[in-house]
């Protein structure tokens, strides 16, 4: 410290020291204070040096226990001095002197803030130090928020370990202002990691109780008679980040408070009071939803919401609808929500567009088979009056709902055609492609669709999309109407041809195809019609548009081939079933950025629980209405082989190949138009067309052949959605998620593991409107696991979900996995799949932190095989060390950073639980080679030879990218076979030398 340079100060201090008694000291201090006071008053000529000196003297005097009631301004002014020494003095003195002085602290804060936002790091530190030393509520408030800001900006920079206790202390604060800020900080902290903050939970509940009962709430924090609504809201928000509340007492008192809030809130006249009380109420509703309260309380909530959506106050109507939409995630209450359907439909006519939007969202969310007809009809009706901003969304939603929940197919066709009629501009191509696919794949529907199309063509002005779809339908299926009045081929032709002058060049090719088809259906040939159509083809042979020109030329040439025309232009084969691109599109729209929020976390939890809630979108996108799909074109065999090779692991899963059968939606148009244009690209999707062409060359039956499913393919006709192997891999590191999904069923898993025991719940969700029959689930347990599956019902009702708990006990270490042999029947399809259950070795691990003092003796005591095994692993998936550490942590092997002196190495520790080994400490060390990331050396040690071997193999499997080779003999004998490299390699490797040091 630069005290030596300040002679005056030294003199003063020695003077004080030389004082004989308190009285003398007092006199000296008084004299000095007088001196300082005069110098400060006489501002002129006071150099920074002098100022600094006097301020130090003041601090000294203050330290001696005298009241220093002046000169604070000078202290504060030093903070804003440009040079560090002055500034430092200013900060130190201010921090010491001013924590009780109200006025000057505020001035200090401004300067401090300037320093914090400034570029100079030392100044920032000074400022923050001062903040931390001051106990004033005002500053603490700001400090809490300041920390929060830093934490949000860059969570890595702020070290949050050990904040839990401090947070808990902060929550004991009585000052509501400070509490509000602390609660904001807590919300941010728990949203990232709630585990560490369990101790804060009861305190939050206490705070909430205090506010809800209006105990000890100062007047200035009462807003329109409500005790700090913001703090109440924040507190409840924080509580929503804790998955559950286990302590029954806390839970009970929380529910009491919530009950009080739910019941005690009424709509009042004062708008502001209304807002505040409802802010609290809505947050309470969200919390109740989150806590999965008893059904009674839930229905109470829905009843409240039902009241809200009918009130006069628009804000409350809006939020009522929004919260009802969130409420849909809770399975039990959907029926109760449906009772309010009429009111929600009325909200579609609300004068406020914001409210109409919410109502639409809610209707979309609550739609299912039972109410689809009503809801879609309402949406269609609303479509004609809706503003343009909403029409596209409306039409997309109507189309999706009609597709997902059609009670019968003709209704679906009606809806889409109405949709095109009413809002043609807003109907994307996907929508009409989809209806064509349906009609093509369902013979019963074809005459009906053609007749409908014919009706629309009678209208004087129709949208171009309508021209496209009706021309296509008439071309394909118009001949089915032959006996109806006004539907002779010639009449059909002329009514379509009327539209030709009104359409753009993208529609003309479709019309030309229609003409060609009509011509083909005219048997025996009608010369008059033939001449008419030939004339048109002739006309377009010189069209500037290449597509039109080509079609005209080719159709003209083909139509002169006579009988061969029949084959070439035969009816379109059925389309392969695939995920609706519409639904995909809707999902894309709903994709949000991943901002952490309670509601989203909740939604995530929901999907990972694999809840196939009746009218909620499943996690992985809904497949098309599969009961409609009668036929599937099997994938080409080469394709299958390719995938199998890619996913060696999936071989174990037996009969089901893990081919993702969905071609990109872009070829939809190719599918529709490809077979019409003769020269399509030779891709798998236009394969039927190639057959048609080959049919011309002499195999006339080829067309039929493609439309029939080969008998042998029966069992494979149901393709899983997504890769089974990938899902399994994901579940190995997660505790809940989807295990298997195909168009009919989704199997979700949620697991809890405790020591050597586990409880796994299978969620079997029927995604369809028909029941799944002969459901069978058999567990094939490996020898080391004891498994007990509760009864699986034989039938899963439509759109229902069945939960089957499974108890697991781990007897001894092994990498073998249990297999679930699952089968069911849907219609004539018998589906069987063998799925690996994610009850893998790592699930019985419990990460524990190990300090250097504990680690090294353990590591040394477990020397050499069979207790310590080492292996050089090649062909490792290259990944940065940090990712590898994360992988280990996710496998419940806790990485202890810094334990190994070499930064390229990782050291991990964990406890393994099984009945034979009990809790057993396992240690692992990975030595990576920064020059070659594909190889590393793995050393595993534990007190049990089998465990060491199994764990080593298990880790290896996780690290190696294609694990087929290493796990070729699936139930590998758990013999402790040391596979470590020869000792020579040990001494050569510099890493080995390090290992010796460890």
């Amino acid at each position: 410290m630069a005290l030596s340079g300040m002679r005056g100060l030294s003199v003063f201090i020695s003077d004080i020291r030389n004082c004989q008694n308190k009285e003398q000291e007092r006199l000296r201090v008084d004299k000095e204070l007088g001196n300082v006071r005069t110098r400060f008053k006489n501002e002129k000529g006071l150099s920074p040096y002098e100022k600094k000196k006097y301020v130090w003297k003041m601090l000294y005097i203050y330290m001696l226990g005298y009241d220093v009631d002046f000169g604070h301004m000078e202290a504060v002014s030093l903070i804003s001095a440009p040079k560090y020494p002055e500034k430092q003095v200013g900060y130190i003195v201010t921090a010491c002197l001013l924590n009780e002085n109200h006025d000057f602290l505020r001035l200090a804060i401004n300067t401090v803030r300037n320093d914090i936002i400034g570029r100079n790091e030392t100044f920032q530190c000074l400022a923050l130090t001062m903040i931390s030393s001051s106990a004033r509520p005002l500053v603490r408030k700001k400090a809490a928020l300041c920390l929060l800001r830093l934490y949000r900006k860059n969570p890595d920079v702020v070290n949050v370990d050990g904040w839990a206790d401090r947070m808990a202390q902060l929550l004991d604060e009585r000052d509501l202002g400070v509490l509000t800020s602390s609660m904001s900080l807590l919300v941010a902290l728990v949203s990232n990691n709630h585990e560490a903050y369990w101790s804060c939970l009861p305190k939050c509940v206490k705070t909430l109780e205090r506010l809800a009962r209006n105990q000890d709430v100062p007047q200035e924090y009462t807003y329109y008679g409500i005790p700090s609504p913001w703090l109440q809201v924040k507190t409840m928000r924080a509580l929503q980040y804790f998955p559950t509340i286990e302590d029954p007492n806390t839970r009970r008192s929380l529910f009491e408070v919530l009950q009080r809030i739910l019941m005690g809130t009424d709509v009042v006249k004062n708008v502001n009071k209304n807002n505040a009380s409802h802010a609290v109420l809505f947050e309470a509703l969200a919390l109740v939803m989150h806590l999965d309260a008893e059904k009674e309380m839930m229905s109470q909530c829905v009843a409240l919401l039902g009241k809200f959506i009918a009130v006069r106050e628009p804000n409350i109507r809006y939020l009522g609808l929004e919260n009802m939409t969130r409420m849909l995630l809770v399975t039990d209450v959907q029926d109760i929500i449906k009772r309010h359907q009429a009111q929600i439909i009325t909200s579609l006519k609300d004068p406020d567009i914001s409210i109409r939007r919410r109502a639409l969202d809610l209707l979309y969310g609550m739609c299912d088979v039972t109410n689809a007809k009503d809801i879609v009809e309402e949406i269609l009706q609303y479509l004609s009056t809706a503003e343009f901003a909403m029409r596209e969304e409306l039409s997309l939603k109507a189309a999706i709902l009609a597709e997902k929940f059609a009670p019968d197919l003709s209704w679906y066709v009606d809806v889409i055609l109405q949709l095109i009629d009413k809002a043609g501009d807003f109907v994307s191509d996907d929508i009409w492609f989809r209806v064509v696919q349906f009609v093509t794949n369902n013979e019963d529907l074809q005459p009906y669709a053609a007749a409908k199309a014919r009706e629309y063509l009678d209208k004087p002005a129709i949208h171009e999309t309508m021209v496209k779809v009706s021309a296509y339908l008439i071309g394909e299926f118009g001949h089915l109407l032959a006996r109806r009045p006004g539907c002779s081929l010639k009449e059909l032709f002329s009514i379509i041809h009327e539209k030709l002058p009104t359409v753009s060049s993208s529609t003309i090719p479709i019309l030309l195809s229609t003409y060609a088809k009509i011509l083909m259906h005219a048997q025996p040939p009608e010369p008059e019609l033939q001449n008419l159509i030939w004339a048109i083809f002739n006309k377009y042979e010189s069209c500037i548009d290449a597509e039109i020109q080509q079609r005209a030329v080719e159709y003209f040439a083909l139509s002169r081939k006579g009988a061969a025309l029949m084959d070439i232009l035969a009816e379109m084969p059925k389309f392969p079933e695939r995920q609706s691109s519409l639904i995909k599109k809707a999902e894309d729209i709903e994709v949000d950025t991943a901002e952490q929020s309670a509601i989203k976390l909740r939604a995530l939890q929901q999907t990972s629980n694999a809840l196939v809630v009746t009218d909620q979108r499943p996690a992985n996108g809904t497949p098309p209405v599969t009961q409609l799909s009668l036929v599937k074109v099997p994938s080409t065999s080469s394709n299958v082989d390719h995938h199998v090779a890619d996913q060696g692991l999936s071989q174990e899963n037996g009969t089901l190949t893990t081919v993702d059968p969905q071609p990109p939606p872009a070829d939809l148009l190719g599918d529709l138009l490809g077979p019409l244009a003769i020269e399509g690209p030779p891709s798998a999707d236009v394969q039927p067309q190639q057959n048609i062409v080959s049919g011309v060359e002499g195999v006339p039956n080829a067309v039929e052949a493609t439309a029939i499913v080969p008998v042998g393919e029966q069992t494979n006709s149901v393709q899983p959605i997504g890769s089974i192997a990938e899902r399994f891999q994901a579940l190995c590191v997660k505790d809940s998620g989807v295990l298997y999904e195909d168009p009919y069923i989704q199997i979700g898993i949620k697991a809890e593991w405790r020591a050597h025991q586990g409880r796994l719940v299978l969620f079997l969700g029927n995604k369809n409107t028909n029941p799944l029959l002969s459901v069978q689930a058999i567990i094939l347990p490996p020898s080391h696991l004891k498994l007990e599956l509760s009864l699986v019902p034989e039938t899963i009702p439509p759109r229902a979900q069945v939960q089957c708990p499974l108890e697991i006990v781990n007897l001894r270490p092994s990498r073998d996995v249990a297999v679930l042999d699952f089968s069911y029947k849907f219609g004539n399809d018998m589906v069987n799949c063998k799925l690996r259950l994610p009850a893998v070795l790592s699930k019985f691990l419990q990460p524990i932190p190990v300090s250097a003092e504990e680690f090294f003796p353990q590591w040394r005591s477990l020397s050499g095989p069979p207790l310590k095994l080492q292996e050089v692993v090649r062909g490792v998936k290259p990944m940065p060390l940090l990712d590898m550490a994360n992988l280990f942590n996710s496998l419940r092997l806790m990485v202890s950073p810094g334990l190994d002196p070499n930064p390229n190495n990782l050291v991990a520790s964990t406890t393994f639980y099984s009945e034979s080994t009990r809790a057993m400490l396992c240690l692992a060390r990975i030595e990576t080679d920064p020059a070659d990331r594909t190889q590393l050396r793995l050393t595993v040690a534990s007190g049990d030879p089998t465990l060491t071997f199994e764990l080593k193999e298990f880790i290896k499997e996780q690290l190696v990218s294609i694990p087929t080779a290493s796990r070729a003999p699936a139930p590998a004998p758990p013999a402790p076979q040391p596979t470590s490299p020869p000792a020579a390699a040990l001494t050569d490797d510099p890493g080995a030398l390090l290992a010796g040091l460890l």
Partner: protein, 166 residues
């Protein structure tokens, strides 16, 4: 967190714009215009909520309140409660009213810095700092008192010059 606080009049002139997490200076005027065209088209007796995702990106909501010639707008993300934000606008306006005695648009125009001070006392880095309007008024009064006090004593420059003269 709160993403932005804006005040604008019914003609769409911005009176205050503060952004806490995004959109640089350049975008401010653009956003204001955007907001305004949307706001002015709304009737009196409708809700105070607007779909903000199209203007401010995903995960943002907007509440506004109309007072005489001014719109007060708050944009925030899903971690905040909508009605609580609406209340916050009310607190802001009540505080302004207390500070200026029947606040009007002109007060806000000519006391731009003071409005910022008040706002800074209420919202800090996008988080609610203080919700009691009495506390806010107290804080603001003290700051202004300190400002006038510190203006009368010119501190550093004088002493620096004194040091140079020495």
């Amino acid at each position: 967190m709160i993403r932005s606080v804006m005040v604008m009049n019914t003609q769409g002139k911005p009176r205050l714009a503060k952004f806490y997490d995004f959109q640089g200076f350049v975008l401010v005027s653009l956003l204001n215009v955007d907001c305004d065209t949307v706001l002015c088209s709304r009737a009196e007796n409708v809700s105070n909520f607007l779909d903000a995702a199209s203007i401010f990106g995903p995960d943002s909501s907007l509440v506004y309140k109309h007072y005489a010639t001014l719109y007060f707008v708050l944009v925030f993300d899903s971690s905040e409660n909508e009605l609580a934000m609406l209340d916050l606008i009310q607190v802001f306006v009540e505080t302004l009213d207390k500070c200026f005695k029947n606040v009007c648009e002109l007060d806000i125009v000519f006391n731009y810095s003071k409005i910022h001070t008040i706002l800074d006392e209420m919202i800090f880095g996008g988080q609610v700092l203080e919700t009691s309007s009495t506390e806010l008024v107290k804080a603001v009064e003290e700051i202004s008192r300190l400002e006038s006090a510190s203006n009368s004593i010119t501190l550093v420059p004088k002493s620096v010059s004194g040091w140079r003269n020495r």
